[in-house]
């Protein structure tokens, strides 16, 4: 074992001296932390908004039993679901990759992360924040295209109409 110990020390120190192993500069970690933070916040905001958008799209089809169900299936913006899942995967990857969940079980953090997004999305939808956002900025174009593509009239949703009138 003593020989092995010496081998470990020699091998590591030789690699350090030979330049095969280099210390990453501090700036690398600073930038990494900033990007992780921005990425995680963006993922939460984006995914939360998408959850709200999914709920909104479900509502715009109206209560018509089987027809409603078929309509939902055929017109549902599945890309939003894929994006939401993708966002969640990125967020979870960031949590695990940078291991900053000090003394907390990563599974609990991931669970809280998902629940936060879903609850956040539902709250945003309930208070109509997504509909306000839809009236402005890049989301206006995006939702316009979605509604146009699915023949959804803006006045189909009462809530949407109220907000539309307000703007």
């Amino acid at each position: 074992m003593s020989k092995e110990l010496k081998n470990i020390k020699d091998s590591v120190m030789n690699q350090i001296h030979g330049g095969e192993v280099k210390m990453k500069p501090k700036i690398y970690f600073i930038i990494g932390s900033i990007l992780t933070f921005i990425g995680l916040i963006s993922t939460v905001i984006f995914s939360t908004f998408l959850v709200g958008l999914i709920k909104f799209s479900l509502r715009t089809h109206g209560p018509m039993g089987q027809y409603r169900f078929d309509e939902i299936i055929s017109n549902f913006p599945w890309w939003t679901t894929i994006l939401a899942i993708f966002g969640l995967i990125i967020g979870i990857w960031l949590i695990r990759r940078y291991d900053f969940s000090y003394k907390k079980n990563p599974l609990i953090i991931i669970f809280v992360f998902i629940i936060t997004i879903i609850i956040g999305g539902l709250i945003i939808d309930t208070f109509g924040l997504n509909e306000r956002l839809i009236q402005r900025g890049p989301m206006k174009t995006m939702m316009g295209n979605y509604n146009k593509g699915n023949n959804i009239q803006n006045n189909q949703g009462l809530k949407f109409k109220i907000y539309q009138n307000n703007f």
């Binding site: 074992m1 590591v12 690398y28 003394k103």
Partner: protein, 180 residues
């Protein structure tokens, strides 16, 4: 480098980061035996243990600038070793049987650090037979002499959970050791 033996790990790390990378050898001297024993308790494979310990020191060196000097270096390096061992154990689950026996060689000097050699050997033997979730905190507490807080930092679990696991581990171990 003898004059630096009085320095704490964190002070040495500061020197490695700022002035002389040769001081990293002091860190290796301080931790390699401990890490070999710790990793071997986890994966029970001598050859792979050596690889993991070497990889631990390399990974720690590469990421040394991410270490927060205000925190305990030992918890940080044990955490790296833990992650590498667990990843390897998952990867080669079939190749690294958890029940495989492996003992230190008789002429080895690794055990001389311990006052109660026989007890520790018995403890290590029993440790191999209990689930890793319990054996790991128990070995860190009794063999590596880590505090609940340090174990919590290494395993990323609250101190209370550490206490519960150690308590359960002792009960399980008592049964197993009595059988043996």
């Amino acid at each position: 480098m003898t004059e630096y033996e009085e320095l704490t790990d964190e002070e040495i790390i500061k020197k490695v980061r700022t002035s002389n990378q040769d001081f990293y050898a002091v860190i290796i001297d301080r931790y390699q035996k401990k890490l070999i024993r710790y990793i071997n308790n986890l994966i029970k494979n001598e050859e792979k243990t050596t690889d993991i310990v070497q990889e631990t020191f390399i990974k720690a060196y590469v990421n040394l600038n991410s270490f927060n000097i205000e925190k305990k270096f030992s918890s940080w390096i044990y955490r790296i070793a833990h992650n590498l061992a667990i990843n390897l154990a998952k990867k080669y689950q079939k190749e690294i049987p958890l029940s495989e026996d492996w003992d230190f060689k008789s002429n080895d000097d690794i055990e001389k650090d311990f006052e109660e050699k026989e007890t520790i050997e018995k403890v290590e033997k029993c440790l191999k037979e209990i689930p890793i979730i319990y054996s790991e905190p128990l070995s860190l507490y009794y063999i590596d002499e880590k505090s609940y807080k340090e174990i919590g930092d290494i395993l990323k679990i609250p101190d209370g959970t550490v206490a519960i696991r150690i308590s359960r581990a002792k009960k399980i171990m008592q049964k197993i050791c009595q059988k043996n």
